[in-house]
Assembly symmetry: C2
Homo-oligomer: 555 residues x 2
């Protein structure tokens, strides 16, 4: 390491004042290293858009200096943007074994796997990029194989925690690297970036082990089938479900494509151990007595397309929830999803099931993967940084995190509460935030289960170059079309619009009637299917790809 002092800058392109779409960057001299590339979902006012990723204009402008993308772990808000990023700018991607497994699933779907350079790292890896010596440390989270990142430079050391909690009795023995963290802190940390998701919650995050005990109890008491819904990526929770099933001599079926995909990756790479006799197919369920059946499924957030929602309305092929079955929602509803979840709970009760659910840890079947206040204080204490940037949170969470930092001795004024695009420049160990770079949202349109074609759009482009609204008056309860759909196009012209309109009318009706007949039509599902059918039809007949905006009106 030379004595050359380069310019050092830190900023976020996503993840500040929001949960989702994380993307952070360290610039040292002529090198840019990116940390994470996630996505987030639009709120209800952004009609017609499927996904949001960070605006990467600055990165694209400076692509000759971008050396690497390091992924802290495999959650969607950290890796969901990777395929779109790599299509734009292809740099090596560093990630742990499990994270790479999830990334590879995505890249395969986007047909990018072959051109991508994926480099496996683990907590003892060391990577040199320019004058940056990069090392790692293990943290606990609600997914296996998570790392924090240490950037050592002549200017000083910067630490990025990734997402974390401190779980001293983790279900899979992945203990956090506390000694290593203390060591890093002792050597001197100039700047810490630490995640703020649970900065509002007092106390310590409960341990994953609590869930295992409760699961076992419920499995033992359950007289008939046990259905557990959880995040496919929460492998330690799935391991505890497997353990409870084993103890109660139950076989296990997996429902939901992402559940099957991720469990496979986890088993193949040694993160999940399922006894050979245990796994069965969905269609085999009926051949077993119910007290010998466990089902693990997706849909704990009330998602329309996922297994749990379909089970709750009796619309999952081969599988029925019957009276006295036990359904466990082993995942707290993420803020915003509560109504979707309680709606499903109501349906499950109507089917006669016993339902175990609740927000936070109140059901005993879920603990958060993000540190509460004492976890965050512990990280700040171990790292004892000079400067602090709270990340991964909405404004009030960043603010609470700053108060925590001050409570453990970080000097007042040394915490930066930033927006995406704000830059912190560090020179001679002094940090300042005086400038910003372009940042914002890029809209991804056309991404759906099974759809690997997509279009990246921005606001200006949509309003000028092509949008097609489909106004569909439909009764929410019986999904009956109340009258013909109406189509309004904006910036999208086609000489055969009259013919096109007739075709779109027909396609829309067919799509809706199809869903009606199978009684599978949740509002979101109808929107997605109509959007997909119309986009396909319009592309076929006009070669153009206007953004399709279905507006369902219940009257």
């Amino acid at each position: 390491m030379g004595t050359n002092r380069n310019s050092l800058s830190v900023y976020a392109l996503g993840g500040l004042n929001e949960i989702g779409k994380n993307m952070y960057a360290i610039e040292y001299g002529n090198d840019i290293v990116l940390i994470d590339c996630g996505n987030k979902f639009p709120d209800e006012t952004l009609l017609g858009i499927d996904l949001i990723i960070p605006d990467m204009s600055y990165i694209i402008e400076n692509q000759s200096r971008v050396r690497a993308l390091i992924l802290t772990h495999g959650h969607e808000d950290h890796i969901g943007g990777v395929p779109f990023f790599l299509k734009t700018i292809n740099v090596p991607v560093y990630a742990t074994r499990f994270t790479l497994g999830l990334v590879e699933i995505k890249l395969k779907e986007h047909r990018l796997l072959r051109e991508s350079e994926l480099i496996e790292i683990h907590s003892d890896s060391e990577v040199q990029i320019g004058d940056m010596e990069i090392s790692f440390f293990k943290v606990n989270h609600s997914i296996p194989d998570c790392l924090g990142i240490v950037f050592n430079m002549p200017e000083g050391t910067i630490v990025h925690t990734g997402d974390f909690k401190f779980d001293l009795t983790p279900a899979n023995n992945e203990r956090p690297d506390i000694h290593k963290m203390a060591n890093i802190g002792n050597k001197g940390v100039l700047l810490l970036l630490s995640e703020s998701t649970n900065a509002e919650r007092p106390g310590y995050t409960p341990s994953e082990q609590m869930v295992g005990k409760n699961l076992e109890q419920i499995f033992t008491q359950a007289k008939r089938k046990v259905i557990v819904s959880t995040f496919a990526s929460n492998i330690s929770r799935i391991q505890q479900v497997v353990d409870a099933a084993e103890k109660t001599n139950r076989k296990l079926a997996l429902l939901g494509r992402s559940m099957m995909n991720v469990v496979k990756v986890a088993m193949d790479r040694g993160y999940l151990v399922i006894p050979k006799w245990m796994l069965i197919e969905a269609r085999d369920i009926d051949e077993l007595p119910p007290e010998r059946v466990t089902i693990l499924c997706t849909g704990s957030q009330g998602e329309a397309l996922a297994a749990l929602s379909r089970l709750s309305t009796g619309n999952f092929r081969d599988v029925e929830i019957l009276p006295e079955d036990t359904v466990i929602l082993a995942a707290g509803p993420i803020p915003g999803n509560e109504k979707n979840v309680t709606s499903i709970v109501d349906n499950l009760y109507k089917l006669g099931a016993h339902v175990i659910y609740g927000s936070g840890s109140s059901s005993g079947m879920h603990v958060s993967g993000h540190g509460y206040q004492e976890d965050l204080r512990l990280m700040l204490t171990l790292m004892k940084p000079k400067y602090f940037i709270p990340i991964h949170g909405e404004h009030r969470m960043l603010h609470h995190h700053r108060m925590l930092a001050e409570s453990v001795g970080i000097e007042k004024g040394n915490t930066f509460i930033l927006k995406n695009g704000d830059v912190v420049d560090i020179e001679h160990s002094i940090a300042r935030s005086t400038r910003n770079i372009p940042s914002g949202d890029t809209y991804v349109d056309g991404v759906d289960v099974g759809d690997m074609e997509f279009v990246l759009r921005d606001r200006k482009q949509i309003s000028e170059e092509g949008m097609l609204m489909a106004i569909i008056p439909i009764n929410k309860h019986d999904k009956k079309l109340l009258s013909d759909p109406e189509f309004i196009s904006r910036g999208f012209v086609d000489q055969n619009f009259t013919e096109l309109r007739k075709g779109m009318n027909r396609i829309t009706k067919e799509t809706i009637n199809e869903l009606r007949d199978t009684d599978r039509g949740s509002w979101n599902l109808i929107k997605k299917r109509v959007k997909r059918s119309l986009a396909k039809y319009v592309k076929q007949h006009t070669k153009k790809e206007p953004m399709i905006v279905p507006i369902l009106m219940d009257i």
Copy 2:
């Protein structure tokens, strides 16, 4: 009381499988007595509708038999439908003094006060209707002057709890009538209808007194202004704010029309005591040193139109939130409102305020007005009914309430989990549910702050007779119109539609620009204002009242 045994039936027209729009009925012989008449708000898929009240077709058909409407208390989901009900069928309304005060505000706005027959009752009142001897008992809730109702008939006794909790240290000394309840139970209760809102929550509901202690502490520590937002109807909480202000020698300004109205009613009728020196106007706030100021305002649910939201975006005339001010959200967010509330909290932090907020009782500034499981068990134990109908809840809450009933000895099979319209008939002390009557939703359109004209609609009518959609592409952040609005009419015809369209175009732009200039444009506010302006314009120029549906598209 004769030995004549009449037919006895009980049903709900609203309040089952939902929270809101409560309306229950007891039919005995030739007499129908209604209990409560509330409203609820539509979800996002029901575009263009302002309010939902119970479908009253059955009541209208049988109006010659309807003798009275009894109101248990003054919350919107129990009295919000009263003006629309009375316009349809005018019967005497029985309610307590405070409840009548709130009802009178509504009836004045609808110009109905003169024709209405309002009869004041209290916990010792006795009312005879046909062969029904009706009496009452005090219950605690998050509003003053709440009663449960007892219907004594030769056939047996039916009890309706109203909304309740058991608060043995209530802030205003309104202790629940436990001895009277025990007495009622001892004499024998054939059927109990008890509210289920918090049937999912274990334990006892915390006492209101806890909030008072916490308020006092915060008021003492606060260096500058203290702003408290809470429900205007929560008079005991407001009393505790007044008490804390008195102890810390602060004056008090009220912001928000409903806050001022309801506080006035409470003071006039003796439910709230505010020292003469304390009340000031909003415009006087700046003349006082900040540590001598308290502000009580509406908007604890994040409502766009209410004071707190406007304060958080710096848009309330005469009043600014400044750094180091303390803002207390003394009301938990009702499920569904969480994002609106956290959005405001984020803004308040950006203004530099200290913010005290949280869901449930986590902030220490709010306790629920609805009984948790042990409160509900206590009511069931006191009343020890033969039959039980859990009311006022979504399906899973009714289900949990049934489990509570069984846990305290109500016979399995004697609890009815009903839908709106299901009827329970009782004969010779045996209850059965074998039939139902028409029930559903009536849509109220055109109701807004200050709008006292309204239209009642039903689904068929809307789709056939008149709807006008205004598609408005608008940037969510700067509220800039991205292009001309588009108007689609359905079932609404006017010979001068081209001219009308031009006018509507102009009106819409004016309305939005007006809101932009004052930077007051929250999404909901824009929708409401556009709707109101267009409805007025269309009615002026066509004499017709199609339903206006503004669709704001953020692209």
